[in-house]
Symmetry: C2
Subunit: 413 residues, 2 copies
C-alpha cells in the first residue's frame, strides 16, 4: 500500500485510508506486508514504487491512495506512467463524465480537471461514482497489478467496494473468505472477560481475540473458510457458547450499540422512555436519538444542569438537595421519578454526577455518578459508579450515559 500526499507527512490528516484498506485486505485473506507514505514528489514516488515492485513475491498488488486531484501537485498517475514508460491517453468518455459531474452541480469544469481524463495506455478505468477523479487498474508488466484511488475516504471506499473487490475476486486473488463477528460486552473489564472465556482464546480456527475500547470489552471471532456460509456455520456455535457463558454481559454483536439494543427491546415491549440529565447535559438523549426511528419509544426529557431545574421541573426535594447533595442516590431516584411523571413514559433514566475536572471532594470524587431508573411498576432504583476521573470529563460523561442505557437494558431483560 502506497499512500501519496504531503499532507500525510505534515500530519495534517490521519491516514484512515490505510486502516480501511488493511482491514479489507485482511478480510479477503490477501497478505499485506508493507505500507509506505510518501509526499507528492515524483522522484520519491518512483523510488517507492520501484522498490515495492521489486520486493519478492509471486503476484503483487500495489494499492495507491491520493494524488489524483486536478492540481499540479497531484502527480500519481503521471509518475506511474513515466516510471513504466507508458504514454498518457485522454479518455473521451471520462472527460464527458467529469464535465457532466460539474454540470450537475451547476458549475463549469475548470480546465485543470481535464487532466483527470488522462490515463496510462493500457490501464483500465477504476470508476469513481462519487467524485471527479477516476482511478486505474493497470498491469504494466506481468505479475504486477496497480490500483489507484483518490485520497477522499468516501470516494476511495466506494471504488474499492464497487470495482476493486469484484475485480480481485474475478481474478482469483481471493481464494478463501475470512468472516469476523464482534461480540460486545458492557459491565465487565477486558481482563475479566478474557479470564472467563480463556478456553476460547487458545483455539485455532475460529480464533477468538479480546479487545477493549471506550469502556466496552469486545471479542472478535474470526474464521477462514471456503465460503461465507461455511464461515458463519463455524462461528455460530462459538458465539452461542460465549453468550451462554457471559449471559447478559453480552449486549450485542457487530453494529449493535447499547442505544440500538435498548431501542429494540422497548419496541418489542411497546414501552417508552424519558431522561433526566444533570452532568451529561443531554448526552444520554443524544445517544438514544442517534437511532433513526427512536421517536417510537423516546419522548424526550429534562436537562437539569442547574439545581433549580431539578427542583422546579423534576420535583426533586430542595431539602434532599441540601442534605444529600445533587450527586446522591436519592436525587438520582427523584430525578428519574420526576421525568417519568412529567413525560408520562413507562421508564425514565436519570444521571447525576461529578464530571470534573473541578467539583470533586474526598467524599465525592470526580467520576462519582449515580444513575436512577424508574420502572413501569413505579419502582425506582439507583446505581452508583466511580469512573476514572483522571481520564477526563468526556470519559466520565460518556461512560455515564452508556451505563445508564445498560441499566435500562438489564432491567428490560
Amino acid at each position: 500500500m502506497i499512500c501519496v500526499g504531503t499532507e500525510l507527512l505534515l500530519g495534517d490528516i490521519l491516514n484512515s485510508n490505510a486502516q480501511f484498506l488493511a482491514q479489507e485486505l485482511a478480510a479477503l485473506g490477501i497478505a499485506h506486508y508493507y505500507q509506505t507514505v510518501v509526499g507528492d514528489n515524483p522522484a520519491r514516488i518512483q523510488q517507492v514504487v520501484t522498490l515495492a515492485a521489486e520486493r519478492s513475491g509471486d503476484a503483487k498488488l500495489l494499492l495507491f491512495t491520493g494524488g489524483l486531484g486536478p492540481t499540479p501537485d497531484d502527480l500519481t498517475i503521471e509518475t506511474l506512467a513515466d516510471l513504466f514508460g507508458a504514454p498518457l491517453v485522454e479518455h473521451a468518455d471520462l472527460l464527458a463524465d467529469i464535465e457532466a459531474k460539474f454540470t450537475a452541480r451547476g458549475r463549469t469544469m475548470p480546465p485543470s480537471n481535464r487532466k483527470q481524463a488522462l490515463l496510462p495506455e493500457g490501464a483500465m478505468v477504476l470508476p469513481n461514482p462519487q467524485g471527479t477523479a477516476p482511478g486505474i487498474i493497470w498491469s504494466p508488466r506481468p505479475s504486477l497489478t496497480l490500483m489507484t484511488f483518490p485520497g477522499v475516504p468516501r470516494e476511495m471506499q466506494a471504488m474499492w467496494r464497487e470495482t476493486a473487490v469484484p475485480y480481485l475476486r474475478a481474478r482469483g486473488w481471493v481464494t478463501t473468505t475470512i468472516v469476523s463477528r464482534m461480540l460486545r460486552f458492557w459491565g465487565i473489564s477486558e481482563s475479566a472477560l478474557a479470564e472467563q472465556v480463556a478456553p476460547y482464546l487458545s483455539q485455532g480456527n475460529p480464533t477468538v481475540a479480546p479487545y477493549a475500547s471506550k469502556g466496552e470489552a469486545k471479542l472478535r471471532i474470526s474464521v477462514r473458510a471456503d465460503s461465507t456460509a461455511a464461515a458463519l456455520a463455524q462461528i455460530e456455535p462459538v458465539e452461542a457458547g460465549i453468550r451462554a457463558l457471559m449471559k447478559d454481559n453480552c449486549y450485542g454483536a457487530d453494529d449493535d450499540t447499547l442505544a440500538s439494543v435498548v431501542g429494540d427491546l422497548l419496541l418489542q415491549r411497546q414501552q417508552t422512555v424519558a431522561v433526566a440529565e444533570s452532568c451529561t447535559g443531554g448526552g444520554l438523549g443524544q445517544l438514544l436519538t442517534d437511532i433513526a426511528g427512536s421517536s417510537a419509544y423516546f419522548y424526550g426529557g429534562v436537562i437539569a444542569y442547574d439545581n433549580r431545574v431539578k427542583v422546579n421541573l423534576l420535583k426533586v426535594e430542595a431539602a434532599v438537595l441540601d442534605t444529600q447533595g445533587a450527586v446522591s442516590a436519592i436525587v438520582a431516584e427523584q430525578m428519574a421519578l420526576g421525568a417519568k411523571v412529567l413525560l408520562h413514559t413507562d421508564w425514565a433514566l436519570s444521571i447525576t454526577g461529578i464530571a470534573g475536572p473541578g467539583g470533586g471532594s474526598p467524599d465525592k470524587p470526580v467520576g462519582l455518578v449515580y444513575i436512577g431508573l424508574a420502572a413501569p411498576s413505579g419502582e425506582v432504583v439507583s446505581y452508583r459508579h466511580e469512573f476514572s476521573g483522571y481520564r477526563g470529563r468526556d470519559w466520565v460523561r460518556q461512560l455515564s450515559a452508556l451505563s445508564a442505557l445498560d441499566a435500562l437494558r438489564r432491567n428490560l431483560l
Copy 2:
C-alpha cells in the same frame, strides 16, 4: 518513520502515532520524507531499516514506534541490534525500574519483561515515565540516529516530549521554529472564505492555507522564524488583517470551539441560557456542557422529541403543530420562548428539524432545520437551514447544534 506492528497491517488499529510524530516534526522544521509500516517480522524490519539508512541525505533520523513489548513477537530492539552488529546488554538500573513499576501496581514482574532491560551496546536509554518499555536513542554509525518508542500513544508522546525533543534541540536538529495558528470560521464555506482572503493565500512567510472539517472552514497561518516570539510577531498582523476582513464569521482560533466562545460571551455578560431540542435530542445541551464550568451560564433545558412534550412543557400551541408541522419557524420560536419562560434564563435556543433518513418530503426535505432564539429583550427570532441530508443523520444533527450555538454567538456580539 518506521511503524512496526502486525496489528497495523491487519487494520486493527489506526496509525495515530504517525500523525502525531509527523505534526511534531513539521512544527520543529525537520523535513520528513517517508513513513513505512511493517509487521513484527525481523527480515522485513531489517529490509526496511537498511533501505531507510541508505536513502540519501546528510543527517538521518529514523523514528520507530511499536514492537517494544515483552512478548516474543516484539522484536524491534533485537532486530536493530542484530542488523547493526551490536550485542544486547542488560541494564541493571532499567531492570530495577521495570520491577519497581510492577511492584507499585501490586504485581510481580513476569519473567518475560526482563528483556525490556536489554539494549544494544552503545545505545542511550530513552526513558518511559509511564510504561515498562524503555526506548533507545542510538547512533550505530555516523550521521544515523535511531529512536525507538512503544506503540502506546500516551507513552510514546510523553517520551517524545520529555526526552526526544530536548535531545534533538541540543544536537542542533532544530534550527528554526515553526509556529502555526488556526483561525476558525462558521457560516461560510471554505471556497467562499478562500476567495475573500485570496491575497493572503498567495503570500510566502507567513503562509496561509484554507481547510474545512465538520462544517467549519479554517485558515492556518504558519510562520518559520528564529524564535517563538518572532514567529508570533509575524502572525499577529496577518491574523488581525484576516479578522478585520471576515468580521463575525471568524469565531475563534486554535482550541476555541463555538461552545467555548459562547460560554465566554455569556460569562462576560453574566447571562444564562436554556435549550429546547427536538431533532438533536440533547446534542446542543451536550455541546454546551462539554465546557467545564458551564454551570455558570447553562441552566438546562427540555428535550422535546415527542410533540406532546413540545405542547405540555414548552407550551407550543397544538393548533400550530397541526397546521404548520413540528418543523417550522413558528414552532422553533415557540419552543425557544417556552424554554426561556420555563427555565427563567436570559436566552433560550431551540432546534426542530428533519434529521433523516426518513421523514422527509418535497416541501420539507431531510436536512431542513429551524433554529429558534429567544433574547433577553423578549424578542424571538428563527433561522432556517437546509443541511445536506444525503450526508446522513449525524451530520444534520451535528450541524444543527453547532449552527444554534453560532446563532447565539452572533446575537451576543
